[in-house]
Structures are given as structure tokens and as C-alpha cells.
């Protein structure tokens, strides 16, 4: 097998280099090259893209692969298959494993499991020991072990003093701190957005202000310390507004939105379907529109899935008792295209950018572009081909998707990591 790749007849879109044209893409030994010599052309492995989009491999800076300790939900291997099937070639996995990834030893354990992954998986580490919000974990040592950021995702550090020290300390290592913004005093027992729908359903409401307060706190702490804080899965219109103003003042804040907050609202909870139970919760149409606006004007930097696998039997419970979270890697691209490209009329290139170079830029990851010399991480997808979301065909171990049975437009045909095909449109091939 040749290490030369020649992708023909594609619509090549590379948002970082403003490239959007019909043509070919070449790679040698896992790197993108300008052209191939005659001899190289003869030896090349040729892929006919058949006019499909050829773009950088997608990047997701927020996934839960549950290893170690919760491998009944997902493993790093199965999660990487799900990612590859969704067109992702790089993901950042969250540290809320069992035990939590709060020390270099556990990070090493994760690094060992990553060797089996079909794509590039980057570990993150906890901000605090055991994600308890009490004592800082060893950020520097974890950086040496390879973490690309720290976060207590799922838990939010409630102490402003501790958060201040965390970002101040991490800033010394240029280590981004990602925060799950939730004031827990406002969300005791909460299971869905507080509003008309929660009032009708009798479910305990979760006010958007619980997010807004911590978003404000983080803007203030970033202003004070100069440290970069990344705000995870923004769900509220007020938060978008706070972030917008912070960015106007050049504060080092970045933020992400999930496909589900872009696509769904709390109206979807009318039947108490636990596949619509997530944290932060789905909010109102006004919030959804504000998130779309925030994406369009750059207030929100990228799209990230918060892929959160749970088994059927864990989700199959009374709404109050079911865990928060949904899988998202295999539906992220079609949903993002649906909302941002088709509904909000963003260009295909600008939409892809949110899943590639802009996502990589948040954490300074290599990847997210296919400029000459870049790693040959490539996704080929047909934006118009439709597919119905079938739980039996999802490659994630868990099937907790709110879009089960929905028809989606946009189908991944090929996922390539470092010049090697890892997903052929139907199955994992590595």
C-alpha cells in the first residue's frame, strides 16, 4: 500500500486558507502536499470524491469516552469509532472518568488506551482533585503527561477564590481552563430549563441565570488574571450577551455551542423523553436563536458535541432519575449543517470552520486545516445525502440520541487520519 494519497474530483473546502474549489487533494506520508509528480501519481492510492466535500478532519474539543471506569457506556476505542463515523479525526476527552483523571498516572492509563483509538484522542485533566472543587490537581505534571487543557466538566468550581487560583496557575503553563458554568445553589434538584414547559410538566426548573452568573464570574476572573477561560456548552441568551461584551473588551474568553442547543428547545421535553435530558438543559427558542446569532458573529467560537454516552437501561427510567447527557458525534455534522448552513444561511465553509480550524484554535491543537504541510486528517462528506438515525447503526456503545429515527441531511463518506482511511462510509477500516 502506497503512502501517497490522491483525492480526485472533490469540492475542496479549507476554511483556514479560504479555499473552496473543485479539485484534487494530495498527501504523502501523512502530510498534505501541493502536487504529485508523475511517478507519485502512478503509485498513489486514488480516491474518487465524486463531487463530495473534502475538508479538514473534524475536531471536537468536548467528548466523554468514559474510560477508565465507565466502559459499559463507552470506551476510548468505541468512542473513537463513533467519532470517525461522524467525520471527526481529533477529539478532546473529558476527565470525569472513574477515577477522575486528576493525576499523571491516570492520564498515562488513558494515553495507553488511546493507542487503540481510530482517531486522535487528546486527554484533558481535572482542575481539582476528584473534581470536588476543593484542592487544585497537579496541572503542570498532567501537562507533562499530555493533557491539552484542564476542566472539571460536569462539576463547576463553586469557590471563586479556587477558580481564580486555578486559572492563574494554569496560565503559567499556557494551559486553557474549560469551565462548565453552573451555579449549583440555583440548580438543586433541577432537571430541565425553568420556564413555561417545566411549569407545565411539573419538573424542577433550572434557571438560565445559574449559567449566566458563572459566565460572568469567569469573564471577571479572566479580566483580573489575564488567563484564558473557555466556556463549555453555552445554552442561554444572556450568557451569549455577556460573552459578546467581554470579547469586545478583548478578554481572553472562548466559548462553544453544542449541536443540540443549536437545534432543539425545551418544548421537546413534552413527553418526558430522557434522551432530551442534558446538562445544561435545552432552553427556549429565544435562547436557541441567540446561540445561532452568537455563532454567526463569532461570540461563540466553535461547535462541540458534549458526546455523553449512557446505556439504555440508565436512560430508561423516570425522568428525574435518568442521567444527563446524549451522544452526539455521529449526528454533529448533519445537525450543524442543518441549523447553521441551511437555516441560518452561513456558507458551507464558515459552517465547517466551526467544526475544524476554529475548534482546534480554542486549544491550540494541531489540525483543523488542510494547508500544505498540515497533517492529512481529512473528511469527505456529501452534504445532500440523507440518512435516518438508526440506533443499531450507531458505532457508539450507547444509543442515547434525541435524533433516533430522524432523517438527516449530510453523510460522511470517508474519514482519513494521517493519510490513512479509518472509516469508509459504512464501517471502521483500521
Amino acid at each position: 500500500m502506497s503512502d501517497i494519497l490522491w483525492i480526485q474530483n472533490g469540492r475542496i473546502i479549507d476554511p483556514l486558507s479560504n479555499r473552496d474549489e473543485s479539485g484534487d487533494l494530495y498527501a504523502i506520508d501523512g502530510r498534505i502536499v501541493d502536487s504529485l509528480s508523475h511517478k507519485q501519481q502512478e503509485e498513489a492510492h486514488i480516491i474518487d470524491a465524486k463531487q463530495a466535500v473534502v475538508c479538514p478532519g473534524l475536531v471536537d474539543i468536548h467528548v466523554h469516552f468514559r474510560e477508565p471506569g465507565q466502559t459499559h457506556k463507552e470506551t476510548i476505542e468505541s468512542g473513537s469509532w463513533s467519532a470517525a463515523a461522524g467525520g471527526f479525526t481529533s477529539v478532546v476527552c473529558m476527565p470525569n472518568t472513574t477515577p477522575p483523571a486528576d493525576n499523571p498516572g491516570t492520564i498515562q492509563l488513558i494515553q495507553n488506551a488511546i493507542k487503540k483509538a481510530a482517531i486522535r484522542v487528546y486527554p484533558s485533566g481535572c482542575i481539582t482533585i476528584g473534581m470536588k472543587g476543593e484542592k487544585l490537581a497537579s496541572t503542570g505534571s498532567m501537562k507533562k503527561a499530555g493533557v491539552v487543557c484542564i476542566t472539571d466538566d460536569g462539576m463547576c468550581i463553586q469557590s471563586n477564590e479556587l477558580m481564580r487560583r486555578a486559572v492563574e496557575y494554569a496560565n503559567m503553563f499556557d494551559m486553557p481552563v474549560m469551565d462548565h458554568c453552573q451555579d449549583e445553589s440555583l440548580t438543586k434538584g433541577s432537571v430541565m430549563n425553568e420556564g413555561v414547559v417545566s411549569t407545565r410538566l411539573g419538573l424542577n426548573g433550572w434557571p438560565a441565570s445559574a449559567e449566566d452568573i458563572i459566565v460572568s464570574r469567569n469573564v471577571i476572573l479572566s479580566t483580573h488574571t489575564g488567563a484564558h477561560i473557555h466556556l463549555q456548552h453555552i445554552s442561554s441568551a444572556t450568557s451569549v450577551d455577556i460573552i459578546r461584551r467581554a470579547k469586545q473588551r478583548q478578554i481572553r474568553i472562548t466559548a462553544e455551542a453544542t449541536p443540540h442547543h443549536l437545534h432543539l428547545t425545551d418544548e421537546s421535553l413534552a413527553t418526558y423523553d430522557t434522551n432530551f435530558k442534558m446538562n445544561p438543559p435545552l432552553r427556549t427558542e429565544a435562547d436557541r436563536q441567540a446561540i445561532i446569532e452568537g455563532i454567526k458573529d463569532g461570540t461563540l467560537d466553535c461547535v462541540a458535541t458534549d458526546h455523553a454516552p449512557h446505556t439504555n437501561y440508565e436512560k430508561d427510567q423516570e425522568f428525574d432519575y435518568a442521567p444527563f447527557g446524549i451522544v452526539g458525534l455521529e449526528t454533529s455534522l448533519p445537525i450543524t449543517l442543518e441549523v447553521l448552513h441551511r437555516e441560518a444561511a452561513m456558507s458551507l465553509s464558515d459552517t465547517i470552520s466551526l467544526l475544524t480550524d476554529k475548534a482546534a484554535a480554542v486549544l491550540n491543537l494541531e489540525g483543523g486545516n488542510i494547508k500544505t504541510g498540515a497533517r492529512a486528517d481529512i473528511t469527505i462528506f456529501d452534504p445532500d445525502e440523507t440518512r435516518t438515525v438508526d440506533p443499531d447503526k450507531l458505532l457508539s456503545k450507547s444509543k442515547n440520541s434525541p435524533w433516533i429515527g430522524c432523517e438527516m441531511k449530510g453523510r460522511v463518506k470517508l474519514t482519513i487520519v494521517g493519510g490513512k482511511i479509518v472509516y469508509d462510509g459504512e464501517k471502521i477500516v483500521c
Partner: protein
């Protein structure tokens, strides 16, 4: 005049017609109350399981009495004796009940949406006996049945619901039932317990007790649900009684023929003055008695019983 539901999960989903159908059957059943032998053989040979995963006195006894009056065999499981304490899921408990060839499940649960969840799993009828702060359909039915007995008609009648609304399934079910029957409903209580979201459901929200009592044809009091409050929604019980308790002075603002209702359990001296609970205006115990008739109607109809057969028979 048929009935097409196997389950009774919410009042919200019922039409006015369906509510009136239940009342017609309940009226017919109520006529049997004066007999010396009160049992009728409508559900003879049927097994009804009362699955009560949250404490209840009135509702559970009400359903048991209703089922027994219809000659059904009743098995009641409460939270302490059920397998949920051993870690069994609701799905498994319910499927076991169905495998034991029960013909119907009545469920009381602290988690909203549980009856709907069960109704999707099970083939047998599911009747909601209260799910968290969501709905308590038979309570609203017996409340409106009582209101109709006392007021004749609900069209244009003014009803004030006073107290802990946010945590109340009784309030929610009554909002749907009363407005469907044409009443004008006002919710009153502290702003923390009566959030403005409720104005989306065709009712008024007020914090002015006097104005809300003066033109009411009926006032329904709700107890403060300590068990559902996740944090402090008001300063103290004393302050609540001081600001919103129905005492004799405030009761004097009511029209003389206005009625006082309460779904129980009442907390004497807290939301209602003890004497008022026992006064001429109070219909609290009529509500309990009517609960039997209404629940008989619900069990009968959800089991596939024909409304005409009962109504014709009673005439």
C-alpha cells in the same frame, strides 16, 4: 357516547366532553351510595394494583374503596414493601405486575411523567394517582364534580386557588379541568410559590388576597408542600399564615355562598383556620366522598366499560 382511553394520565389531554362523560358516569355511580349493599359487579374478576411509591392516605383509600365498590380485587403496594427499595426499576416492577395478570395499575409517584412512562411500557390501563408536581387528574375531577354539585355550572364562575401552586399537581390538574369547564381561575400566594409562568395556561396570577377572595365563587386552599421544596421559598410558616392563611377575617371577604375547598391533608391553623375547615362553607369532606364516585367512573371507563350501560341503568 363512547370512551376511547385506556389510560388516565393528565387532565390537560382530556376534552371537555370527556370530562363531562366521566361526571355522567360518576353521577350514576353516586346514586348507589345510599344502598345498604353498595357493591356493584362492574369489575368483578378484575385485579387492580395500587402502586403507591409516595405516601398517600386519601387518594389510596379513595381508589381502594372505588375499586372494591366495583367488585374488583385490589392489591396495594406501597414504597416500603415494593422492590424499588431493593433497586428494582419502575419498568421491571410494572412489568412484573402485568405478568401477574393484573388488569390495571394505579400509580402514585414523586417523579413527574412516571405514569406516562408506564403507559408506554404496559398494555394494561394506567391511572395516574399523582405524579410529582405534574398532575393529579382524579383529584381535579372530584374537585370539579363537587363544584358542579354546589354551583350548578362552572361557566363564568370565579375560582381562586390559594397557596403552594408551584409544587402542586392538584393546582395543575385543576387549572386544566376548571378552565376547560369555563371557570375563571385566579392563583394566589407568595410570588415564590406562584411564579408568573402560570399565566401561560389561561389563568390569572395575583398576590392580592383580598381582591382574589372578594369575587370568588369558590376558594381552594393548598397545603405548603414541605417535602418538595428544595430551598426556602418563604420566610416561615408563621409568615405564610400571617400573609396568606385563610382566617375568619379573610373568610368574611368571601361572598356568603362561596364555598371553601381543600384537597387534604389540611394543616389546621396554617393555611386554614380550624373552625373554617369545619364550617358550613367548607365542602372538604364532600370532596372526599365524591372522590369515590369519580374514581369508580375512571376505573370503569378505563377498563373498557360502556358509559351508556351505567347511566341507563341508574335512571
Amino acid at each position: 357516547m363512547s370512551w376511547n382511553r385506556k389510560d388516565l394520565i393528565t387532565i390537560e389531554e382530556l376534552s371537555k366532553d370527556e370530562i363531562e362523560k366521566i361526571f355522567a358516569v360518576a353521577t350514576a355511580f353516586k346514586k348507589t351510595f345510599g344502598r345498604s349493599v353498595k357493591k356493584i359487579p362492574a369489575l368483578r374478576g378484575k385485579t387492580i394494583v395500587n402502586l403507591f411509591l409516595e405516601p398517600s392516605t386519601r387518594t389510596r383509600m379513595g381508589f381502594e374503596v372505588a375499586a372494591k365498590r366495583l367488585s374488583a380485587d385490589v392489591i396495594s403496594l406501597d414504597m416500603n414493601s415494593s422492590s424499588t427499595t431493593k433497586g428494582e426499576t419502575l419498568r421491571d416492577t410494572a412489568q412484573n405486575v402485568q405478568a401477574l395478570k393484573a388488569d390495571m395499575i394505579i400509580i402514585r409517584h414523586s417523579a413527574p411523567g412516571s405514569p406516562l412512562y408506564l403507559s408506554k411500557i404496559l398494555d394494561i390501563p394506567v391511572v395516574n394517582a399523582g405524579d410529582g408536581a405534574h398532575e393529579h387528574p382524579t383529584q381535579a375531577l372530584l374537585d370539579c364534580f363537587t363544584l358542579l354539585e354546589k354551583l350548578g355550572n362552572l361557566k363564568g364562575k370565579k375560582i381562586t386557588i390559594l397557596g403552594d401552586i408551584i409544587f402542586s399537581r392538584v393546582a395543575r390538574s385543576n387549572i386544566w379541568a376548571m378552565t376547560k369547564l369555563g371557570a375563571e381561575v385566579t392563583l394566589v400566594g407568595p410570588s415564590t410559590l406562584v411564579p408568573h409562568w402560570f399565566t401561560n395556561f389561561g389563568v390569572k396570577v395575583s398576590h392580592d388576597l383580598q381582591a382574589s377572595l372578594e369575587d370568588a365563587d369558590a376558594v381552594m386552599l393548598l397545603r405548603i408542600q414541605h417535602e418538595r421544596q428544595t430551598s426556602s421559598h418563604f420566610p416561615s410558616i408563621g409568615e405564610y399564615t400571617n400573609m396568606f392563611g385563610l382566617n375568619k377575617t379573610r373568610a368574611s371577604w368571601l361572598k356568603p355562598n362561596a364555598i371553601i375547598m381543600h384537597p387534604g391533608p389540611i394543616n389546621r391553623g396554617v393555611e386554614i383556620d380550624s373552625d373554617l375547615a369545619d364550617s358550613e362553607q367548607s365542602v372538604i369532606l364532600d370532596q372526599v366522598t365524591n372522590g369515590i364516585a369519580v374514581r369508580m367512573a375512571v376505573l370503569y371507563l378505563c377498563s373498557g366499560g360502556s358509559p351508556e350501560a351505567v347511566i341507563k341503568h341508574s335512571n
